[in-house]
Symmetry: C2
Subunit: 368 residues, 2 copies
């Protein structure tokens, strides 16, 4: 399918403090029209990584040269293991060495790690410069590039240091998904699937019907899945930019998932894989607490399994899971808060008894 | 003079995005009433340094225990040389090790460095927790604790990485100034004096009349000087929180001053000393450009000199000054913007010809 910025799908986002658009379509990245109407400085800086920059860096750079006098590229090391201060510092070094001023615009070209780090750097550099998200993974397109959460990891916890800082635009070019390894693509599907159980039973049914097309990366299916995911996320974020309440439902599967990622060391499992398994655990916990019919949990498990996501967590031991979850940002006064399901399409945030959580974790671990 | 939170001076600040009060008076720090009405979490963390914590840490801790279940203290190394990532990281390590959640409140007990770093840490920890400024130096009381600028330094430039992040309250306890070394006290006077030439000729005249009382740290004079400084700063910040325009006048003397600090390495000169000398240079430049009568510049020079501030900069060479100023955040597209005087009490921001700037710098350097 041919495409361009003129014919693409546009999802508006209004967070209360800022408004921007998500563009979804083919061949957007190399089209100068995709970058019209953004803040204009002399200098645009593309932040990418060693995997994505060789694939898409040149096309983006060329398109941006229609609007900016100078376009430079910073390449970060690839992977969640490098979502840390030393890598962030490389962005600052580049900006300062290149003499970038307050009107410089940053472009995050890559997955969630690149997006989170670029957003954080943009929020801090000279106390804030504009930035644009150009997500090249399915996960980043449906989740991490929308909503303004930015962060780096700390050895004691994931995403512990960061900001709420909104991009000026998000450009999802479907072409970039063609170069995405299957494992990463499937991990991204976990975040797509998430929007069904937490907010839209109809979307869940649509996913059950169209999973094969999605796995084949069919154009029409992909466009609908990304659009609907972004719409749901934009609506939730619009009602609760700073995660005072509702927004927490977007973390369905993430409390367990972060424990898996932190427990194994970042980068062992992909984020989406951990979230997929975390959703399976959260559904089990919802059943265990008498909130969700067992057949609804089984329906979700079946979809996750068909997508190729892991349903069993590493055998860290229930005590270690609980300890790791206690460090989660969503915990308050040491109490862990879980996103649980009342039915498919309706999530609620609440604490749960340690003993019940332990039982669920043990049952869903590889040795359990 | 006895004092307490009930009888102190209160200056309201309204930045457009947040409102808070500056309390100015005696014996505020150890009075639980000073800390009433702040956000309540279980945990309060006092961030201080190895010089201030032994003097005032215990009193503040005791007063806060009336409101928080747990009060802990982080001690940072003292000085501008430590306004960097490793020191910031110690705050994060403490917060995570102590299991601090999103409702933890941070208290910055110290000078500008402690305030800037604590504010930045509060703005980033779990994407933002509340914080309170408890400035213990004159400079921090009249300048750095008001207005929400937070930052750390980068080897290539001062305050390059930071945020606009507003405190929930500022508590200026005059008692803490009694332990301040004279050199630091005088450096703080530079920022007090600044408010005269940029915004209030009447205040400048008052300072000329009351400088001896101020140097003797007289209670009434100090209270008036701090109050008027905070009022002017609050007004300017209220009209321009994010430094789009007007707020830049607060940087009178700072463009030259930052060049001095960066050129010598942080910590060689005190910030206020560099700003004092920078104001002398900026006044000269205003005269040189035909904007300010020479006698007005001489009046400002005389006041700075009486206060004990240095009027001559280090002999870095004009080229080096220009290079360092080009890295200043206030520069745009490589052009340096100076805060200059049209008359005493009226400042304007504009570029200036390199040759004229060089002449002024050479004349005001120790070997010039």
């Amino acid at each position: 399918m041919a495409g361009s910025a003129d014919s693409c799908v546009r999802v508006p986002v209004d967070t209360g403090t800022s408004r921007y658009e998500i563009l979804i379509g083919r061949s957007l990245l190399g089209d100068p029209a995709s970058w019209e109407g953004l803040p204009r400085g002399r200098h645009a800086v593309i932040v990418s990584n060693t995997t994505v920059a060789p694939l898409w860096g040149a096309a983006l750079r060329e398109a941006l040269q229609a609007h900016y006098t100078r376009v430079t590229v910073v390449e970060l090391p690839d992977g969640e293991a490098h979502k840390d201060w030393p890598a962030l510092s490389r962005i600052f070094d580049h900006l300062l060495t290149a003499g970038c001023d307050r009107k410089t615009v940053l472009f995050a070209l890559g997955g969630g790690v690149v997006g989170d780090m670029t957003g954080f750097a943009a929020g801090c550099y000279m106390r804030g410069v504009p930035f644009v998200q150009v997500p090249t993974t399915l996960l980043a397109q449906v989740d991490s590039s929308v909503g303004g959460k930015t962060a780096i990891n700390h050895p004691l916890g994931k995403n512990m240091i960061g900001l709420f800082y909104q991009p000026r635009r998000v450009v999802c070019d479907l072409d970039t998904l063609s170069t995405l390894p299957r494992r990463e693509y499937v991990a991204g599907l976990a975040e797509v699937i998430k929007y069904g159980p937490i907010a839209d039973a109809g979307f869940l049914a649509w996913l059950e019907d169209h999973l094969d097309e999605l796995l084949a990366r069919d154009d029409a299916a992909l466009t609908h899945a990304i659009r609907r995911s972004c719409e749901i996320k934009a609506q939730v974020v619009g009602e609760d930019e700073r995660e005072a309440g509702l927004r927490a439902i977007l973390n369905f599967g993430h409390t367990f998932g972060h424990a898996i990622e932190t427990g194994l060391g970042y980068g062992e499992w992909l984020h989406g894989e951990a979230v997929g398994c975390g959703m399976a655990m959260a559904a089990d916990l919802s059943v265990e607490l008498g909130m969700l019919p067992p057949e609804d949990a089984r329906r979700l498990h079946r979809l996750l399994s068909r997508a190729g996501l892991p349903l069993r967590g590493p055998a860290l031991g229930a005590a270690r899971y609980l300890e790791l979850m206690g460090h989660d940002k969503k915990s308050e006064a040491g109490q862990i808060r879980f996103v649980l399901l009342r039915r498919l399409g309706d999530a609620v945030v609440m604490p749960a008894d340690d003993a019940v959580v332990s039982r669920v974790v043990e049952r869903r671990s590889v040795d359990g």
